[in-house]
Each structure stands twice: as C-alpha cells, then as structure tokens.
C-alpha cells in the first residue's frame, strides 16, 4: 500500500526507480573527459606537422601562429620563468601541470565558436603541435595514448593543495581591534580606472586594461 511503499523508498534513501539506464553509445558520446593518468583517452594519434596544419587553419587566428597569443586572446606558449614575477604569463608550457588537460580542453571546448567537432586524431595532432610550440618536443613527435604518460609538463610540480586552513585561518581568526588601531591613516593608492562609471549602455569602457584578470 502507498504509505508503506513511501516509507520504504523515501525514508531509507533507496533508489526511486527514476530515470533510465544510460546506453553505452550515450555514455561514449558524453564521457569524454581525460584525466592526468590518461584515463579517457581514445584510440588515435597525431604528429606535430599535421597538428600545425590544423592549428594554423582553426586556431592561429586567435592564439597566434606559434601559439604565442594575439591581442586579448590567450597565449598558449611562452612565459617560462615568469610565475614568480609580477604578472606571470601562464601558458601550457609555463603553467599547466597535465597534458591531459590540453587534450581534453582542446577536444571539448575548442575551437571557440565551433566546439566539440575535433576528431581524436585532430586532437592528438594539435596537442603534439602545442607541445612543439612550447619547445617541449621535436618536430617529428607523434602523440598517441601509448606515449601520453611519458610527457611531463614543466610546471607539473608547481601546485599545492589549498593550505589556507594552516597559512591563513589562524592568523585571520584573532579578536579584531576596535579602537585606535593605527596611529595614522594615509591614502596609499587611488583607483587607476576612474572613468568606469558607465552610462546606460551597459558597458563600462575604461581606459587601458591595467589588470585583465579574466583572460
């Protein structure tokens, strides 16, 4: 009876029988993500020169012929040794820890405006070319699932897990000062983009981009 059924199904966190089984073809169509250990990589392969061809046709208009970036579009190569400087240049070569991320992102998200259409071979080839343009492989390099794990990106060890709990929370959890907390207060910096307050057109057109944090 209804009451009993409800008790058993809702109360115990049992499955309710909603939805349907995902079919293998459906799972393959969407389960495309690739993990650092190569899980998710499909069959196929591609070499630097083939990659260069596809890249020049499909990518260079935004990212530059040698993946060096163009205007405000992201640069994908260069920037080595800038991470501990002001305004680091973060590229595949200088910053990205895993090659899987390149393969996965290019395969699923690029080219921008016409995504999710690159074949596995295309993607292996482009990825090989991006390694090449970052000076990480020679021009005869061929990438496939088999040698994928051998490629190590320069900044692979450049990441630590969130350590705010140790490095910040204790320091920022003391009783705050309420009175006469400083002897004097001076203005040390003024807003560098003063004319940001826009009209009604919904676009705050300021001066030069001082820090374009979102690229």
């Amino acid at each position: 009876e209804t009451q009993t059924a409800r008790d058993s199904a809702f109360a115990a966190g049992q499955p309710l029988g909603l939805g349907r089984a995902a079919l293998p073809e459906e799972i393959s169509a969407w389960n495309l993500d690739v993990s650092p250990d190569g899980t998710g990589l499909p069959d196929g392969s591609g070499d630097v020169m083939t990659g260069e061809g596809i890249y020049l046709e499909q990518c260079a208009a935004c990212h530059g012929d040698f993946a060096e970036g163009l205007d405000n579009w992201p640069s994908l190569s260069g920037g080595e040794g800038t991470l501990d400087r002001d305004d680091p240049e973060k590229t595949i070569g200088s910053f990205w820890p895993h090659l899987s991320t390149v393969w996965d992102y290019v395969h699923r998200s690029m080219p921008f405006g016409n995504a999710q259409v690159l074949t596995a071979d295309d993607t292996y080839a482009i990825t090989a070319y991006l390694l090449y343009s970052n000076g990480l492989v020679e021009d005869d390099f061929v990438l496939s699932r088999d040698n994928f794990a051998e490629v190590r990106l320069p900044n692979a060890d450049g990441f630590i897990e969130d350590d705010r709990a140790e490095t910040e929370y204790p320091a920022f959890s003391t009783e705050p000062c309420m009175e006469s907390c400083k002897d004097s207060v001076e203005i040390t910096m003024h807003a560098s983009v003063l004319d940001v307050t826009p009209g009604n057109e919904g676009d705050a057109t300021g001066d030069a981009p001082v820090e374009a944090a979102l690229d």
Binding site: P15, G113, E161, L214
Partner: protein
C-alpha cells in the same frame, strides 16, 4: 516637544507651497495601467540604470566573459534574477526542457539518464545561497583599480534556490566504494567541467531548477544548474548535463589553468574552493555619492562567508583606526548574503569607509595588505580584503587603499 538637531531647522525653513502637493497631478486624476498591462513586468523606466554592466577590456570578447550585479543600487539580500551577474565560457545557451538530459555515469551501480521531468519527481529542498565568482575583486590585487562597488564586488548574486539534493541523485545511481570525486559538466560549447570531492557532493550540493521562485533564467543555467553552497561560482555548473563519479579529480582546464591561485614564489594553490568571509560597503560608494550633505546618512553593505553565517560586521569611517559594529538587518544565514547598516550622523568631513566581516568560525576579513603578505599580488582569485572608499567633502567617492 523635543529640541531638534541644528540641520533640522534649516531643512524645515518655510518656503512656498509645493505645486506637486497643492495641484492635482495627472497620476492623481487619470487612470494608470490596468492589470492586463504587464503579464510579466519589468522595472519602471526610471530605474533603467540598475543593470548588469560589463567591462569590455577585461576579456577578448563578451562570449567568454562576465558582467556585474549593480549591488550599489540594491538593498536587502535577494538579488533580482534580471540583474544578477553572468559568467559564461561560451555564451548563454537556450536549452528547452524537453531537450534536457542529465547523465550520471562512472563509478556507480547504475549509469542513468534523467529527463527534466524526472528531476521534478525527486524530493526537493530549498535554500538561499550566494554565488560568488572566485575572480570577484580580482582586478584589485595590485591596487585600487575600478571605481565602483558594482565593478569591484559585483561578481556575486544571492538567490533562493529550489532543486534536488545531489546526494539523492547519486543515491539513485548508487555510488561505488571507489568513488571519491565527482566531475560535473555543462551542456554548452565550453563543456565547462569541474571536479568536486564526494564529501561536498553528498553534503549540501543541489541540482537547482528554480531561483527566486521561478525557473532559472537562461543566463543562469536553465533548466538546471549546480548549486555548491559557499564554494566558488565556477563550480556552479550551468546547463548541467553530466555528473560522473570518479576515483580522482579530472584536473580539467578550469581547475588547473584557471581557478588556481599563484603565490609570490610562483607555486600555485589548487582546489581553493571555499569563499572566505568578505564584505563591502555598497553605498555610499563611487557610483553612489552622498547628495544630501551633512546629517543622517545610511551606510549599508553586504557580507557573506562560504564557511557559515556572518555573525558580525564592523564599519570604520576613518580608514580602520576605529570601528563600530554595524546592525545586521537580519541574523546571518549560512552561506547567504547578510545586509548590514550603520546609521551615521555625517559631519560633512572626509571619510575613509571600510567594512569588516566576521563569520561563525571567528574568521575576520583581513586587509588587502595582510592577504598580499601571504599571497603576493598574482593570485587573481579569492581577493576578500577589506575595501576602502574615500568619501570626499562634496559627497563623491573614490576607490582607494590606505596605510
């Protein structure tokens, strides 16, 4: 009767009768709009400046970009969906409910596909949560830059969500013991994906289909998005199409190339999910100067913490030398925005206005310099430092930093 402050007698000086009162105005004589005029209404024309705004030089184009909530003009805590900020990686897509599919795959007993109608059959829950982009205030790391709370702090909104707890959907599929993470992905062309530890997924994450009572707006992920209370907005995947239970994180582009925080030594923090306690004075502020001269002034702003409820907000009018605890409009709500007020008698002199949030863990919002000492200036994300507005004698305001 009581003696009035000095300002009062001035303001109440006798003048000539106000024709807006003594003459019958058109709106007091003729009829206004009938109840069939606006089946779904918009703000009145006089409020046409209360809109999301983008900053064109921030990104290469508007398709993968952001706009900002006009927090300087809002009050209370709820953000109207119409002006709640947007962040897209491939534009806001139009996905009809009948075309919607949600796949759960990976380390589960049953790999499943749900329709939108299926989602509506699971037990629902409701909660008000803030959604803050990790890059909010990111343009201010190297110093005061943008002149208005909309631009410095407007990558945030606060809405009442209704949806299905993610744990309910995961229970439907049956998580295998090896499952330790989930990977979530959207249906748009960016296929925006993030990894989330299973513990959080089984805690308070939900697959939401309503915000502020009605269906999610297109630009907020219609028909279904992830709500990840207290954690950075990039995880709140819109147009959610797939949830995979995995053994480890995918380390996708949005969690390696982006949304990692580079410290001064070049090492970068990853998996910085939670949004620390933060606050900002929304008005007065550079876009909302004081127009009324000395006397009573409402100083107001917003405070929030990804680690629980806001318990206290202090306000300083002298750049942090002295602080007064502000009035919270209502008791803090976990991982939701709290409105604060300081009722102030302005003497007409310059002010250096700041606010400082405290959350239930005892965490006190730090100064920007305190953050820089630990992180440097290249973190891009998670800038929750104390904001200073320099209020000048004429009531205008500017974004500054102070010693």
């Amino acid at each position: 009767s009581v003696a009035l402050p000095a300002a009062a007698s001035m303001a109440r000086g006798q003048g000539t009768p106000d024709p807006l009162i003594t003459e019958v105005q058109d709106w007091a004589r003729y009829s206004g709009d009938g109840v069939d005029a606006t089946p779904y209404g918009l703000p009145i024309q006089f409020e046409s400046d209360v809109i999301r705004r983008n900053v064109s030089w921030l990104t290469a184009d508007t398709i993968s970009s952001i706009n900002f909530t006009p927090i300087h003009q809002l009050d209370g805590t709820i953000t109207p969906a119409g002006c709640a900020f947007e962040r897209h990686h491939s534009g806001a897509i139009e996905l009809a409910k009948p075309d919607y599919r949600l796949m759960v795959n990976g380390l589960v007993d049953r790999e499943l596909v749900f329709t939108y109608a299926d989602l509506e059959r699971f037990p629902r829950r409701q909660g008000v949560y803030f959604c803050e982009c990790a890059a909010n205030t990111g343009m201010e790391w190297a110093g005061a830059q943008l002149n208005g709370s909309q631009f410095t702090h407007g990558m945030i909104h606060n809405m009442e969500y209704v949806g299905v707890p993610l744990k309910t959907l995961l229970a439907e599929a049956g998580v295998k013991p090896e499952g330790r993470w989930i990977y979530v992905e959207g249906a748009d062309a960016s296929s925006n994906g993030r990894s989330i530890p299973l513990e959080k997924a089984m805690d308070d994450v939900m697959v939401a289909f309503k915000a502020n009572g009605e269906a999610l707006r297109k630009e907020h992920g219609y028909p279904a998005r992830l709500v990840v209370p207290g954690w950075e907005g990039n995880l709140w995947v819109k147009w959610l199409r797939r949830i995979e239970v995995t053994a480890g994180p995918v380390e996708s582009r949005e969690e390696t190339s982006k949304y990692t925080d580079t410290l001064a030594n070049g090492v970068s923090r990853k998996w910085t999910w939670v949004m620390d306690a933060k606050s900002v004075v929304t008005a007065p502020s550079p876009q909302v100067g004081i127009t009324h001269g000395p006397g009573p002034l409402v100083i107001t702003g917003l405070a929030w913490s990804g680690r629980g409820t806001i318990t206290r907000v202090d306000v300083s009018v002298d750049g942090g030398r002295n602080w007064t605890t502000a009035r919270l409009a209502q008791p803090g709500v976990p991982m939701a925005m709290t409105r604060f007020y300081l009722d102030h008698l302005w003497d007409g002199e310059e002010m250096l206005l700041q606010s400082r949030a405290v959350d239930e863990t005892g965490y006190v919002q730090p100064t920007k310099n305190a953050l820089r000492e630990i992180r440097g200036e290249n973190s891009i994300y998670h800038n929750n430092g104390i904001q200073t507005w320099w209020i000048k004698k004429d009531g205008s305001a500017e974004n500054v930093e102070v010693s």
